[in-house]
């Protein structure tokens, strides 16, 4: 904690009445759903079979891990998250470097570059599904035709690629924005000094700028991973997890089990798996944020 923020040397006990509403609300939110999901995950409970509701031990987990569909879902989640991370970091870094330069209308250009972030997921998905990627009337299909490239029915032949394109478009702005902010905090005199010493643009990028981006990149990776593991509306509005289970991620699997199959037990077991995955990533995020608190 930075010094000099204590008011009148009061004791911390005085803060509790002010803190308690937030602590109580978040306390309930962090315990009740988790406990209930854990409990349901050990039970046979299907809303379509309401009479029967009993303890089955780890059977739901057994079914979960012996079902090839759930392994596919985990693999799909990892492919989606990893691909979008790589794309958004590479494009985001390039964009941030470009937008960090001095040029006329920089503010407006920045706004354009981050605008996809503000588009709600179903709208983002539908723009791409219909207006751009549709094989018959879409803009991209027509443009590829101009270059003599074959028309690709994206959502039936390469559904995961299409999904990755859509989600990357949504998350490139996030990476750009954070990396741009980091670049702006870079001491420009340091770069100037390196330039005077004869370091070319590539050397400056390699030895000064990129090392400075280490921490923000870590933050982007962790924040995006948490959000990307929960991607849902984009899948629902484009492929509904298909064809087959080609785009069924862990999140989408829980949705199918819970709200389409009404299988509470099975959905809860998959939900627990999703929680565990998110928390592994989350741990790293919290450590890095905790470090920034101490700076």
């Amino acid at each position: 904690m930075a010094g000099g923020t204590k008011v009148g040397g009061r004791r911390e006990g005085r803060g509790w009445p002010l803190l308690s509403p937030a602590v109580i609300v978040l306390g309930i939110w962090s315990v009740v759903p988790l406990a209930m999901t854990l409990w349901y995950s050990t039970r046979y409970y299907n809303l379509l079979d309401p009479g029967r509701h009993f303890f089955v031990g780890l059977r739901n987990y057994d079914l979960l891990f012996s079902d090839p569909g759930s392994l596919t879902a985990i693999a799909n989640s990892i492919i989606l998250v990893a691909s979008v991370l790589v794309i958004s970091l590479i494009v985001g870094t390039a964009l941030a470097l470009l937008l960090n330069a001095e040029f006329p209308g920089r503010g407006a250009a920045r706004l354009f570059a981050i605008s996809p972030f503000f588009v709600m997921p179903p709208v983002a998905a539908l723009i791409w599904k219909n207006l751009l990627l549709n094989p018959l009337n879409g803009l991209l299909g027509w443009m590829m035709g101009l270059f003599g490239l074959p028309v690709i029915p994206w959502f039936s032949t390469a559904p995961m690629v299409a999904l990755i394109i859509i989600v990357s478009w949504e998350w490139i702005p996030f990476a750009t924005l954070i990396l741009l902010t980091a670049l702006q905090s870079l001491d420009s005199s340091q770069i100037e000094a390196a330039r005077m010493d004869g370091a070319g643009p590539l050397a400056r990028l390699r030895y000064i700028i990129l090392p400075h981006l280490g921490r923000p990149v870590a933050i982007v990776v962790m924040m995006e991973t948490i959000f990307l593991l929960s991607i849902f509306a984009e899948i629902l509005t484009t492929t509904s997890g298909g064809p087959g289970d080609a785009t069924t991620t862990l999140t989408f699997l829980v949705y199918i089990r819970a709200l389409l199959d009404f299988n509470v037990g099975g959905a809860s077991a998959a939900g627990v798996l999703a929680i565990v995955l998110a928390n592994i990533v989350g741990l790293f995020l919290m450590r890095s944020v905790a470090r920034s608190l101490n700076r």
């Binding site: 904690m1 930075a2 923020t5 008011v7 009148g8 009061r10 911390e12 509790w16 002010l18 803190l19 509403p21 937030a22 609300v25 939110w29 962090s30 988790l34 209930m36 964009l95 937008l99 330069a101 001095e102 040029f103 006329p104 920089r106 920045r110 706004l111 354009f112 605008s115 996809p116 588009v119 709600m120 179903p122 709208v123 983002a124 539908l126 723009i127 791409w128 219909n130 207006l131 751009l132 009337n137 478009w169 902010t181 980091a182 905090s185 948490i226 929960s230 849902f232 509306a233 829980v254 949705y255 509470v264 959905a267 939900g271 995955l277 998110a278 928390n279 995020l285 944020v289 905790a290």
Partner: protein, 272 residues
């Protein structure tokens, strides 16, 4: 001379890249002003007579206005409650930090690690039993919970920027905590509170998971409207684009206002 040419080239490249990223949104906007026939024309029409028919058709869609109203009520309601709960908490942690403050902050952040899908089953069952399914109250509660950690962190980080000496001086004058928060901190931190509220409104407005899964005819927000609209009417591109433009426009506007503080909020103060 060479340097100015290079910087002009960089500027051009930056503008080109920025417009390329924004292009899908621009194309949606263009499509919204077309007739249905023009929207699916191949090759795509760049020059056409703009019409407002699609906007009229989209807003005349059954329930459109109530979905829009739901979006407004849910995003404002969730933000209002989140700020009311977060304000005193952030005040206490920023100006009366104790041994537990840092741990508390981290714990609050950790509640964001619960993926919505991990809470789907219990929330659905609880909501079904207490009658909160398909209600605006239900969505307000969930959006408030989703945004609360972020709102607390963001307010905390804005409060830390306010010199504690100002508040200290007031204490000497015998001002109590409530007056201190209301008459000093509120006006001092107003821009920060506004940015925080804007970000919370944006996130709640765009929230799709809970809205799609917990609502039907009554409490759905525009995210649910667009999702459902797209299923039977997916072929009406102009109408769908018009509806989408209307759903996205307010947030694009808000987003451009709060752009400066976005990073602080989204990274929980880890990047400023």
């Amino acid at each position: 001379m060479q340097r100015s040419f290079l910087s002009r080239l960089t500027g051009l490249a930056a503008w080109f890249a920025a417009l390329l990223i924004a292009f899908p949104i621009i194309w949606m906007l263009v499509t919204a002003f077309k007739t249905e026939r023009a929207a699916i024309a191949v090759p795509p029409l760049l020059i056409f007579k703009p019409v407002l028919g699609s906007f009229a058709a989209a807003t005349a869609q059954t329930g459109y206005l109530s979905f829009a109203l739901n979006s407004i009520i849910v995003s404002l309601g969730a933000t209002l409650f989140a700020v009311i709960i977060a304000f005193p908490a952030a005040y206490a942690m920023a100006f009366r930090p104790g041994r537990h403050t840092q741990g508390l902050l981290i714990w609050m952040l950790s509640t964001k690690m619960l993926p919505p899908v991990g809470a789907l089953v219990p929330v659905y069952l609880i909501y079904r039993d207490v009658g909160l399914l398909d209600t605006r109250t239900g969505l307000i509660i969930l959006n408030m919970l989703m945004n609360l950690p972020l709102v607390i962190w963001m307010l905390f980080s804005f409060f830390k920027d306010i010199p504690a000496a100002i508040l200290e001086a007031a204490l000497v004058d015998g001002v109590n905590t409530r007056q201190q928060m209301q008459h000093l901190l509120l006006p001092l931190a107003a821009p920060g509170i506004a940015s925080t509220a804007l970000l919370s409104i944006i996130l709640a407005w765009n929230e799709s998971f809970w809205s799609i899964n917990l609502t039907a005819a009554h409490a759905g927000t525009l995210a649910a409207f667009i999702t459902r609209f797209s299923q039977p009417e997916g072929l009406f591109w102009a109408k769908l684009s018009a509806a989408s433009v209307l759903a996205v426009a307010p947030v694009l506007l808000f987003g451009s206002l709060t752009q400066r503080h976005l990073v602080r909020g989204l990274t929980f103060g880890a990047v400023k």
